[in-house]
């Protein structure tokens, strides 16, 4: 940063919805995203749901000239879907996998076998150390009866904890991603309160894009219209958040979203709209800017609210674990009964064949299937209970620390 001139940083964030075999017109859209990034020359592009490594490689080849540095975060069987293109060297990376990885949903909702996680990149620009985080939190399936709220809270909490613990040496913290939460949701308030991150949309000096900054809008031809029925304007679930840690200040000069179709074609880039922020970073005299809001007195209320939700989830998870366990035991009993009957027939105790063979075999297959499924779900819910317990305990500890020392963030 030469003299007192602020550093300007242009950031692009998009959930690319690039799932092989499932996402509509994927290759075409990845091309369009690449064209957009090359044309606009951002400083940083934070992408989510780039599930195919081939798509990443194609983008990398295309963008090599204007974004010489990039990283693809590998995790799980399919990957994390997270990748970053940068004009500036990436010094180091770290990936953190959330403890609740959406595995049970794969079975219940046709979700895929993915490892949801948050990626960290360390980037130095003009002597300023940036900790850049990119993530994709678990989707909400039904807002009215949101059984997964506790899970998203656990993820929001883990994300906040990971950012807090890894950003101590950073000058500026940036977070981009599909957080799958509305701006007023307790998870967002928890994340923002506990990390002190600010929302680029609310802080922006000027805004241009979809109304209310929405990133999932009914006018996008790829969105599921039924899901957006209660929200005629759409919803805002993709964010760019930031804060200055040491003696720097960050201002969001401009925020934009894409609006519907990409230029010159009849389709949008993704089912989400992209978020584009222009940030100005100033070095200031005194240490600790006004942006560190972790001492917010409302923080205790937010953590308490989140903790209550996690407790509700914990009770539900315990019930589910019990039900699945009972189902597994019943299926096992049925199988044992069948085995005894079959054995009886074999050693000639019964006269001829007491059961029709086909239905007998079908029943055995069914019981085996139920046993396997119920056992798997029982294990998943056991893990769920442990994770919710662990988070509840951490929140309790944080509340104790906050209440003892209210002025010490």
């Amino acid at each position: 940063m030469a003299g007192e001139a602020p550093l300007q940083l242009r950031i692009f964030d998009l959930n690319c919805w690039a799932i092989r075999y499932l996402s509509k017109r994927r290759q075409e859209r990845v091309q369009l995203i690449g064209d957009k990034l090359r044309r606009e020359g951002f400083d940083l592009a934070l992408l989510q749901e780039v599930w195919s490594e081939q798509d990443y490689s194609d983008l990398r080849a295309k963008l090599a000239a204007c974004y010489p540095f990039s990283h693809y975060f590998r995790s799980g069987v399919i990957g994390s879907g997270l990748c970053v293109f940068s004009k500036f060297p990436i010094l180091d990376t770290l990936l953190y996998q959330y403890s609740l990885n959406g595995y049970p949903y794969m079975l219940q909702h046709g979700d895929w076998f993915c490892g949801k996680s948050v990626g960290l990149l360390i980037i130095k620009i003009s002597g300023i150390l940036f900790n850049v985080y990119v993530t994709h939190l678990h989707a909400e399936y039904c807002r009215e009866k949101d059984a997964y709220l506790p899970h998203r809270l656990v993820q929001a909490w883990e994300l906040a904890q990971f950012i807090r613990h890894t950003s101590k040496a950073a000058d500026v913290v940036l977070l981009g991603g599909d957080l799958n939460m509305h701006p007023e949701d307790v998870g967002i308030r928890l994340l923002r309160g506990w990390t002190g991150l600010q929302d680029a949309f609310t802080e922006a000096e000027c805004f241009e894009g979809c109304e209310d900054g929405c990133t999932l809008v009914p006018s996008n031809c790829f969105t599921v219209k039924a899901e957006l029925l209660p929200f005629p304007l759409g919803i805002r679930i993709d964010y760019i958040l930031y804060k200055a840690v040491s003696n720097f200040t960050v201002k969001c000069q401009e925020l934009k979203t894409t609006q519907g179709t990409a230029p010159g074609v009849d389709i949008p880039f993704s089912d989400h709209e992209a978020v584009m922020a222009t940030l100005h970073i100033h070095r200031q005299g005194q240490a600790r800017g006004a942006t560190t809001t972790t001492t917010d007195p409302k923080l205790v209320d937010v953590v308490t609210e989140a903790r209550t939700e996690v407790e509700v989830g914990l009770r539900a998870a315990r019930r589910q674990r019990y039900c699945r366990g009972r189902m597994a035991v019943l299926a096992l009993l049925l199988l044992l009964l069948q085995a005894a009957a079959a054995l009886g027939t074999l050693v000639g105790l019964g006269a001829g064949q007491p059961f029709p063979k086909l239905s007998f075999s079908l029943l055995a297959f069914l019981a085996t299937g139920v046993l396997l499924l119920a056992t798997t779900l029982h294990l998943f819910h056991t893990m769920e209970v442990k994770m919710l317990q662990g988070t509840e305990e951490q929140m309790r500890r944080v509340l104790r620390v906050l209440q003892e020392r209210p002025s010490d963030g």
Copy 2:
């Protein structure tokens, strides 16, 4: 820290080998460990392999008076097995799960369904901020033909990266745990080189305990003697490591290990010996003590060596993934053939029954089993390939950064 008097810290570290139904005389030993901790009044006790939460609760109840603060790290289905007892308040915690969690070994080695991880605790003592890490890395199954060396290297690398990224604000870093690596192994050299951690055993001013500081010794009645045949003295795989990050120095005044049986009984505390360190922490004038050894010129060599091993593992994992995939395809083909034959018989194409029913069914069951197993292993090896690739890439990036700026840690 009043005036210039050093802070003295006594640390206890033990792999407790407390696996329900599997570990011999578990409850008795957990009692003995509790007695020892209560009698000696350490400042910190870092325990591994406390797999049963009941054992943790029992210990907590017993130790409430002398260790008022404690934490059990929950992870995976069974848990992480990691817990900590402390005389000083635990301000915050964070758990990081390694990406390679030993799942494939569960199938191949009868290992259990555990989530290997590293736990971080933030503790403030006399105004000094401690980052305390406790972990348990994956075991070595066969030293001569160590197929899992690349996996332990990935874990050692992830551990080092996690410590580096989370300890930036700490005054003192402590790491205790069963690292399952010999002192001269490339994984230990990588961990120490990349974090700057020092080995309490080699730095100790005075030592008392098993020869060479070994923690897995043939004289312990619970150790598997065959595994220790090549090492008549035993092996040292449990460590207490430390470093001062800011203007502090840490010295290890005394290191001890337990030796065989606990006092008054005929059994030892565990199959591992406990490591007990007495550290002296001094505040010093100038910033950055001599303990930060991350600028070691040998570091490039160690990372290069580790990277080579990871590449070897990557090639092996790719081969395995291919073999499992081929096996799955063959099993599927066999099943399809059988289905066609059965269908043929049903619609009356064949004259009577061409196959004996029992062997036909058995073959179908066998093929299904092989299909499931091979598919699962294929998925595991896919994940393995991704993780090894990711680590190799990170190491390559670090090497580039190190070679460009050799004097900048």
